[in-house]
Symmetry: none
Subunit: 419 residues, 2 copies
């Protein structure tokens, strides 16, 4: 298997000021090509640490992709360190100087000496064209191992990977003709991780050299199959075998595949079925509505929402009966049903969802602890409400889980009507 490692150089990542988006992007691209990512490291702008880390990563990797430290200022030392590491010297690339001179001319700026320095590259390296910036990438080889060095600016790193490094990266995999792992994601819903694990009853005998990871999230437990094969076509056979194994044991819990979110699954269902929706929200305060409108094209199905945070609004705008609120309370099956049903009528939609609950951290009682949430669902054929005990004290989490439950409920209802 071809092993790759990623190295990010820069203090702003170490102090937590910026998210390392380069690593995510590059790791995903390399994984899709069939590389096995061995390690992702972030270190500071220090000569010795870069040298040590290159040494350490090359021991376990065929390819290192390094980002950062190629700018024009004094703390950008990557090129000098590469020269030291590969026993090389910087040489001048006139074409690159002309290219950045033109870029500067367009912006009405003179080319400074600092920027001219960006046309200097290690003599043994191949320049990787950077269409959108002034620092080119570079590719350098030693003992049949490779280093690609890219600027740290995410747009530029991504641009060079996609436009200038891709042929090399693909070619290296192809000519190596080695074993590989290919991945597939499956999102399940309505079953806790431990019960799902019991249901699947995965053993080493079933997995062989392949893997199955359980990744809990608000959307449900995600399963990631990593199917191993001695070549790509064997890996695909293995993937299909493992997928069938899982599907046979928990098809009723599978809600989406291949990184498609619950919201995307629902949006597609709503659009394909040409149906409309509205929401009436209390404890989630508009989060469900905000989620429903987060997808481009949501105006095809989403009409609107009433956030009835106070009881007055539940009564005056959503027309929940005063007696219902007095007799059963705002967090009750009866209120959830009236909210959903009246909402559907007010917005004249095919479906309406209501959420009323206790998000926390305060407001819980013995009968209705924090995390008690009623989700109402109204369709043209009926209205019902479903209790969720989200069972924890975290407001943000309770709100997100309530919304996720509502999305999952609506997906199930559209696929297989209960009401």
């Amino acid at each position: 298997m071809l092993k790759a490692s990623l190295l990010s150089i820069g203090d702003e990542i170490l102090i937590g000021q910026i998210v390392n988006t380069n690593s995510v992007f590059i790791a995903k691209e390399l994984t899709n090509l069939g590389y096995s990512i061995h390690r992702i490291s972030t270190i500071g702008d220090s000569r010795q640490e870069i040298i040590d880390e290159l040494d350490s990563l090359f021991k376990v990797s065929d390819l290192i992709i390094c980002t950062g430290g190629l700018g024009p200022t004094h703390d950008d030392i990557t090129k000098d360190v590469i020269c030291e590491y590969f026993d090389d010297v910087l040489v001048h690339h006139q074409q690159w100087e002309d290219k950045i001179r033109d870029q500067f001319k367009v912006r009405g700026l003179p080319l400074s000496d600092r920027n001219k320095g960006q046309a200097l590259l290690p003599s043994k390296s191949k320049l990787l064209f950077n269409r959108i910036g002034t620092a080119p990438g570079m590719l350098i080889e030693k003992d049949n191992k490779f280093l690609i060095s890219l600027p740290g600016v995410p747009n530029e790193a991504q641009c060079i990977i996609k436009e200038s490094a891709m042929d090399f990266l693909k070619g290296l995999i192809d000519k190596t003709d080695s074993d590989c792992i290919i991945y597939k994601n499956i999102l399940t819903n309505g079953i806790p991780e431990s019960s799902l694990a019991d249901k699947l009853d995965i053993s080493e005998a079933i997995l062989g050299k392949s893997s199955l990871a359980f990744l809990p999230s608000y959307q449900g437990v995600k399963l990631r199959i990593g199917a191993y094969g001695i070549n790509k076509s064997k890996a695909e056979q293995e993937l299909s075998r493992l997928y069938d194994y899982i599907f046979n044991r928990c098809s009723e819990n599978i809600i989406s595949e291949d990184e498609i979110s619950l919201m995307e699954v629902l949006a597609e269902l709503l659009i394909n079925n040409k149906v409309s929706i509205s929401t009436a929200e209390s404890c989630t305060g508009g989060l469900l509505s905000s989620m429903l409108t987060s997808v481009p094209g949501s105006s095809k199905y989403m009409m609107g929402s009433i956030v009835s945070y106070s009881n007055d609004v539940k009564e005056n705008l959503l027309k929940v009966k005063k007696e219902t609120l007095i007799n059963f309370g705002a967090v009750s099956k009866e209120t959830a049903i009236e909210m959903a049903e009246n909402c559907r009528k007010i917005f004249n939609t095919d479906y309406s969802i209501s959420i009323t609950g206790i998000a926390g951290p305060d407001g819980g009682t013995n009968q209705k602890p924090v995390g008690t949430v009623w989700i109402g669902l109204s369709t043209k054929t009926g209205t019902g409400a479903f209790l969720s005990n989200l069972g924890n004290n975290d407001r943000t989490m309770n709100r997100e889980r309530a919304v996720t439950s509502a999305l999952a409920l609506l997906i199930r209802e559209i696929k297989k009507p209960l009401l």
Copy 2:
């Protein structure tokens, strides 16, 4: 300086499936406490690699914070590896089993053997309480160096750091008495970066070994003071000197400090002033309302919201005049003003905010490109609307920026009424 390193364990980061948000959060917290972050590493769920990386990181770090691999399934091996590394055995914590049994009971689920396993911890470790999940964190020491192991789920890792590990982390810095840099963030609003720089007139003579960074963001320009001292208390003195210097020159632009969000600032203002608010949203689809209700105690000020995603709803529920929609369009100053004013009347609140705009990626025109957003603000003394050109093509970013602008607008209005 006390050196810390972060270790993330999990194939899902290596293959680029998820962003390593734990590293960002923990790096920021540790940096704020005065730790110097030496390295951030991500490796796979492999016994030997975890052992090797612990070895390598401990050579250069006083503290390692490790995330991931504490779940109930077969690929969660961190605890076993810790036992091996620290020459320890797992022991059972009855109190923890009782805690997770209760958590499961609330949700109406049985406690499986897999979950019971989460009550096993290395005997030499101290349990770090996890209020919101089933896997506790742990703290273990060897030769005066420390390892903290946390679950990989970001909310849980953050919860344990903030609630259960903070005393230890602070104490370690305090008792070590080495030189350090401590940071403070100040968020300014309503002044461009260059004017702020002129106003502050920072020089090397003022900074000494400390630093001041200007970080423009869509909430405003953030200032980050990095105060250096030969020990924590000297660094604190230095921080206070630099803070006073800045405060004296731009107090009127300071809108929040120490990572307190705009929303928290606004919630405090609304509660202290005993005023109420409602919102009328189009392109943000409930995101503003959801933000306003994200803070505990928001029922003190938030009455409700109408999400008028379709024009029908703008007309029928928000009573925007048909002529206004026809003559000026849904995305216009006139519509924003009617939405805000009518919303305030419908909900009978002191303030009301409306947002109508083009979030993208589609729907832009030459006159009204994607990113055009009108924000209306209505108070008991007047109603106005303000144009934002968010100027980019990213739907999520445009929606978030529109909400941020609305929050900042309301904060300014409450502090110093314009309307």
